[in-house]
């Protein structure tokens, strides 16, 4: 891509900007690390607070936090399942049979960006009093609400893959060779959409693990609400877990980037 050089900045300008902004953005992260390593009054660094997390003696103190982690992981799995089960077949059906509805589905999937979670939660409270009566008050039911909040991200990830694959021709070819719809779906269409579906799943996991608003105001325990609770009595542990969660999400999104960037190179 040498053609881009006429628009691009000089290397000096580039690295000065990236360096300064990068440094500024590193300050809070480095501070978090420094904060958790802070020792006694003499200012020595210690990793005691990190090892204390794994100490079985503290298991009781951190029970709530570990429950939050567990709940968030469960929610991530259920939300991915809901989003994939509801969104993928709909998008495929629309792409194959109802191309005119594409705009409608796109609009519906983008709407959650316009409706802040804090607004949604006002209306979710009465909905969840019904859900609780029907399905109990266990934490996994939150996944229904989370599915809505991740719709825009999941839609975009799948759609960018979908528009690069000619699903109509593929499914017609498979059908004309006698394949039933089930095999068309599982052996032709889904394998072609693997990349988009994987990216959608990962971004869903990242968003769910970071969600606080809905869980907090519907009085459920997840990673974020547990972090806030722990931070009141033990800010160091809250910061350690935040660092771990940020690192985890960063890795997850780095992997998404690699998946989506690695376009299959079938050129001659």
């Amino acid at each position: 891509m040498s053609a881009g050089t006429s628009v691009a900045p000089s290397p000096l300008a580039r690295w000065v900007i990236l360096g300064v902004v990068g440094l500024l953005f590193a300050v809070p992260i480095v501070s978090m690390l420094g904060f958790t390593l802070r020792g006694g009054a003499d200012g020595a660094l210690t990793i005691e607070r990190w090892t204390a997390i794994l100490d079985p003696e503290n298991a009781r103190a951190y029970r709530n936090l570990f429950q939050g982690v567990g709940n968030s992981l469960l929610l991530a799995v259920v939300t991915v399942a809901i989003v994939l089960a509801v969104l993928v077949p709909t998008m495929l059906l629309v792409a194959i049979r109802y191309p005119r509805l594409r705009r409608v589905v796109e609009f519906v999937c983008i709407v959650p960006i316009t409706i802040p979670a804090i607004v949604l939660v006002v209306g979710l409270a009465p909905v969840y009093s019904v859900v609780t009566r029907l399905a109990g008050s266990s934490v996994w039911t939150l996944a229904f609400a989370y599915g809505v909040t991740v719709l825009p991200y999941a839609y975009r990830a799948i759609q960018s893959n979908l528009s690069a694959v000619d699903v109509v021709t593929l499914s017609e070819a498979a059908r004309s060779l006698g394949a039933p719809w089930v095999s068309v779906l599982f052996r032709v269409l889904l394998p072609n959409l693997r990349r988009g579906i994987l990216a959608a799943a990962f971004i869903t996991v990242a968003v769910v693990l970071g969600e606080f608003t809905i869980a907090s105001l519907l009085n459920r325990v997840n990673l974020q609400t547990a972090l806030v609770q722990v931070s009141r009595s033990d800010p160091y542990t809250a910061v350690i877990f935040s660092l771990l969660a940020l690192a985890f999400a960063f890795t997850l999104l780095l992997v998404i980037g690699r998946i989506t960037a690695a376009r299959p190179r079938r050129t001659p």
């Binding site: 006429s6 691009a8 991200y153 972090l227 980037g257």
Partner: protein, 303 residues
């Protein structure tokens, strides 16, 4: 030609055959799970959220709650929300655009871009509560930077009071997710600048400065403004960072909704949360409509 024709014939025949042999469910039924799901967990909550603003404690219709939107206290929080959003949107947009500019010309699948993109996504979409902790650890009362400044330079960050847990304290944490969001949203537009335009400018005797001020900036203006609106909307609707930082009080609108939800009565009114929700949705709809208008102007140049 004949092969496709016969294949199509087989296809049609097969369809008819199965339709005759057993009653096939119509294909549109496949759309119902999505429709039901969106109805139950998006449409109904949204309508309920707004509708409760029109209902009083006994369930009768009232405009009383809406009148609360004109209350000086409520107006004050909306104003505070506006200025926090405006300041962080403009500052975040300028800084983010600079970063985008610096990233131009780097390979999109290279290591630097991968790391910046992932870091931007994490901070823009995932931060929430954890960004609040990051800033408490940095410039909180016992924060690393606070202590460092006091010990080494003798500067007291909080000489004028502890502003981190007030509205001004939101500015830095908000910038910490606004700049990354700008990088994500503005990068495609900047990448849409065609090198040929720069070459054409050069051929006609213009230098880099002329290219940026006379060509690139007018082309990028709608997209830049659109991104500012998106950042404004993002800050305006953000709740988690503020909630984790400010545990008491209702300094901005989302926190006021929290107060209304938890204590049921704010300013002696019930169902105020609904009215506040309506106010927020109105602001968001205006912002997002303007955003999509600007976006369609932008796309003209991205063909």
């Amino acid at each position: 030609m004949t092969a496709t024709a016969s294949a199509a014939a087989v296809h049609v025949a097969g369809d008819v055959g199965t339709a005759r042999s057993r009653r096939r469910l119509p294909a549109w039924l496949g759309l119902t799970p999505f429709a039901l799901y969106v109805l139950l967990f998006l449409a109904i909550p949204t309508v309920l959220a707004i509708a409760t603003g029109f209902v009083d404690g006994e369930g009768a219709f009232t405009l009383e709650n809406l009148a609360a939107l004109g209350d000086p206290v409520i107006l004050g929080t909306f104003l505070d929300s506006f200025w926090v959003s405006a300041v962080t949107a403009v500052a975040g947009a300028v800084l983010g655009a600079l970063v985008c500019y610096a990233l131009l010309g780097l390979r999109p699948d290279g290591a630097v871009r991968s790391v910046v993109d992932s870091a931007a996504s994490v901070l823009a979409q995932f931060g929430g509560v954890m960004l609040a902790f990051a800033f408490i650890a940095t410039i909180g009362l016992q924060g690393v930077v606070t202590v460092l400044l006091a010990d080494v330079f003798g500067i007291n960050l909080f000489a004028d009071g502890v502003w981190l847990y007030q509205v001004p304290g939101l500015l830095l944490p908000y910038l910490y997710f606004q700049v990354p969001l700008m990088v994500i949203t503005f990068m495609p537009s900047l990448e849409g600048l065609k090198p040929q335009w720069a070459e054409a400018t050069a051929t006609l005797g213009g230098n880099r400065f002329v290219f940026w001020t006379r060509i690139a900036m007018p082309i990028l203006a709608p997209s830049f403004l659109g991104s500012v609106l998106l950042l404004f909307a993002n800050a305006f609707s953000s709740y988690a960072t503020a909630a984790a930082l400010i545990s008491q009080g209702s300094q901005i609108v989302p926190l006021q909704i929290r107060g209304a939800l938890i204590s049921e009565t704010v300013l002696g009114r019930e169902n105020l949360a609904g009215a506040l929700a309506l106010g927020m949705v109105l602001v968001m709809v205006v912002l997002m409509t303007a955003y999509s208008l600007l976006q369609s102007r932008t796309e003209r140049w991205q063909r």
